[in-house]
């Protein structure tokens, strides 16, 4: 899995979490039978607007024509055709389950970049000297744009489950977009306290109101252990677009030089993996699989081995290093498949 994929997973996770918490709060105020009053009471009515709302007897809330005004990007134009929340459960006053799906979440990456940019020269310099490997994580937004993505119209799903009694949490999310491709991630955690779970709610509020959601989430997973992990990506053009950008950067025109570069990928990935785990044969197999995916991107799946557990505290270094270490410790398999995306 590339850096950009991991970044997308994290973004998705945060989006899922934020939306999930939003729906938890919404359900908690169900007695009020008035979502608008709920938003007003939580001070986020100014950050969320919608055209229509409906609540069914099956505890399914549906918002139509939703737009969100994040505190960091108040003027970002976005629109969600339909936002549905279902299966809300509580256990001892703590949200224990919720699921949601958002249909056609639309925004432009260019708009996001304009709102986040500094002066013009810094934008030009950042892109002129963009490093296609390192900057995938440092500047994921630019990486997506250089891959050719701009208009996003994604379907997003999310599931959250938490057991206050034993501190087990499961987070599941998916996103599907014509440009970004189809991503899924499913993580099971243990050792998550009520207080840590509550930080998710706080982070969501701060996403829309004054505050720092990143700070809220900083210690969210302290002491937690990953008990299962799976993720998948299905190509729809993102990786190919990024490869096309790299080809222009290195003046490749589909000639033998490109093949030579591809051949160099396996040792490079193997070397990187070996820094986390000395199992060179397995590392080489994984590297070959990743290289094959990069060469002909389609569907790739990461699946942890049953029974493997990894405490998050043992992971260190950069985000990519931590993720790599996590997957190797979980003895994750990497499988390529044909897709029909």
């Amino acid at each position: 899995m590339t850096k950009s994929m991991w970044v997308a997973v994290v973004i998705l996770f945060l989006l899922f979490t934020a939306c999930g918490v939003f729906m938890v709060l919404l359900q908690k105020d169900e007695e009020l039978k008035n979502v608008h009053a709920f938003l007003t009471r939580n001070g986020i009515n100014a950050a969320v607007s919608y055209r229509d709302i409906s609540l069914t007897v099956a505890d399914v809330a549906v918002l139509k024509g939703v737009s969100v005004r994040p505190r960091a990007l108040p003027s970002l134009q976005n629109h969600t055709k339909r936002f549905t929340v279902r299966d809300y459960r509580e256990s001892g006053g703590v949200p224990s389950k919720i699921a949601f799906d958002a249909e056609k979440v639309s925004l432009r990456l260019t708009d996001v970049a304009r709102l986040l940019k500094g002066d013009d020269e810094s934008v030009i310099d950042a892109l002129a000297f963009f490093n296609p490997a390192e900057d995938v994580l440092n500047r994921p937004l630019y990486a997506l744009m250089l891959a050719g993505c701009d208009r996003i119209s994604a379907n997003v799903t999310g599931e959250y489950a938490y057991s206050p009694a034993n501190g087990n949490m499961r987070l599941k999310a998916g996103i599907s977009d014509k440009c970004l491709g189809a991503w899924t991630v499913d993580v099971s955690l243990s050792g998550v306290s009520n207080a840590q779970q509550g930080q998710l709610v706080l982070a969501f509020k701060h996403f829309l109101r004054k505050g720092d959601p990143v700070k809220d989430l900083k210690n969210f997973l302290d002491g937690a252990t990953v008990t299962a992990f799976s993720a998948s990506y299905t190509e729809s053009g993102l990786v190919r677009g990024y490869k096309r950008y790299i080809d222009t950067l290195y003046l490749r025109r589909g000639d033998a030089a490109g093949a030579a570069e591809a051949a160099a990928v396996v040792p490079a990935i193997t070397g990187y993996l070996s820094m986390a785990n000395a199992h060179r044969q397995r590392n080489t197999e994984i590297a070959k699989t990743l290289a094959a995916f990069l060469n002909a991107p389609d569907r790739i799946t990461f699946q942890s081995k049953a029974g493997k557990k990894v405490p998050l505290r043992v992971l260190g270094g950069t985000f990519l290093r931590r993720m790599t270490d996590l997957l190797l410790r979980l003895d994750a398999s990497v499988v390529l498949e044909k897709s029909t995306f």
Partner: protein, 567 residues
Amino acid sequence: MNSFFKTAALFFFLTPAAGAQTLDIPTGHEMKRIAYSAKAGVEVFAEAENGKWCDDILSLKIFAQDEAAFEEPALNALMAKVAVVLKGECAAAQQAVIDGYSSNTLVYQGSASAADKWKPEKGTLKVKIRQLQAAAVAAARPKDGFPVREWTPPAGKQKIMAHIDQSALEHRVYSKDKRCSILYTTDKPAAKMKNWFISVGGNSCSENLVYGRAEVSVFNDRDNLETTLDGYFTEGRFTGRKNLNVVLLNRYGASKDEQVASYLIDSDPELKIHYVGYLKSRRNRKTGLYSPWAGCAPFTIAAVTENEELFLEQAVTDNILRTAESFADIFCSGATRMRFFATTAPQGIAGMDMPENAGGDEGADAESKLIYAAVLERKPAKKWTIASDKTQNLARLRENIRRNEDLREHQLMMADYNELTKADYLGRLAYMIGVDRIDNLPAMLTAASIIQKPVRVNLLVNIASSGLDKAWVEWPSEFLITQASGLLNRQGWHIVSGNLRAMTAEERKKYKKDDPFTAGVLELSAAAACEQEACGEVADLVGLIRRRHEKPNWRPYHAPYRQEDEP
């Protein structure tokens, strides 16, 4: 047979007269080999006429495999052995003119005489002169003569007519019968001189002008005797008691008080030098009359040439100075001071033919014409010596400056070279066209989309098609170039510069471009066509640097001008 001759006999085979080998050299002269050494790779021939080579003056041709044979110690040794041969075979010989050849090229000219025990004079400078001559001849010049700025000698044997400059203060004054005239130097206006006349005694007035010895009385417009000119004339100009039979070139004035005339002393077609002498006539401030034309105090002579390289070699410069000294002996035998200068123009050099502070070309222009200047002095019956503090070799100074500039540029080029060996392909492309960087199209289109302004870019592109004012690129992606008129005239690989912007919605619709980050428009401001696929010529670093600095012969690694034998 003494021991010396034994040695010589071992070294040389004396050629018996009956079996003498002869050689027909290209000039048609018959040559006889009088000595040779296979070991030393040397053959000595004597020029023969009607089969007879022995005379009081010999013409010797020495052919050597190695030019080193003409260096002083080797040649001295060789001539000592030739002397033994001459003593036995040609006792009448008193002098020998020697031409030395190596690889069929004349590399030495000199002479030797019996009086000096056949020790050859120092003649190696001819080698340098020959080399320089070859360089000069190689330069594109007309076959008939060697023109110089501001004066071109007429071709062939056409008579040289003196050019009279407007600054020349002189009037032609005729005799009453108009059969005779002189060129009289005066600052009086032409209108006033109109009715002046002369009376000539003792001269036939060839060509209507007084030449040679004459006694000329000059009368003014009131028929009063103005002055009497008793002495010699050259082309109608009074030279006093000095009989100068010279060909005048230019007549001009440095100032009201100093008038100048130049004359052609000699032309050296070998070195492409015209030797020009200068005469001066000075105004007496009390009487208002001008002195007779004189050129011996000091004797002023110029070597007019466009071959500045002659003066980069001290040996050649010395040879030219010796030539000038010989002219001083001919034209001004008693002169004790000589001003010599080399120049590309025959007149107008301040401090030489002109006074330091008057007339002529000024500043850098005059400096650029002057090649070399020296003042020579001699005491009676002594040799000329250079008054060193007056010497300036501008040719060498200019050459030194040029070499310093070359050295500095070499250092800059080496710095470029070292930098480029570490640079990537794009860095070399950027160097090729002199820009900071070569940009990436998707990256810059993304930047343009974000900042919503055109971005100044330099791109490597492959032009697929070009029209009157626009062109389409096929690599790195299909995008449009506008304002291409006059800048792009063919397809293929180019490095283009200009302002890049994203296509507008209308343009995307018009050109059916859906991909937002390849739908760009470049407003072209400059374009450089490449010679090879993807501008592959940048792989040749040396060629790249040579083109950039316009130094087609530059080579990296070592500094210019280092001699082969230097460490």
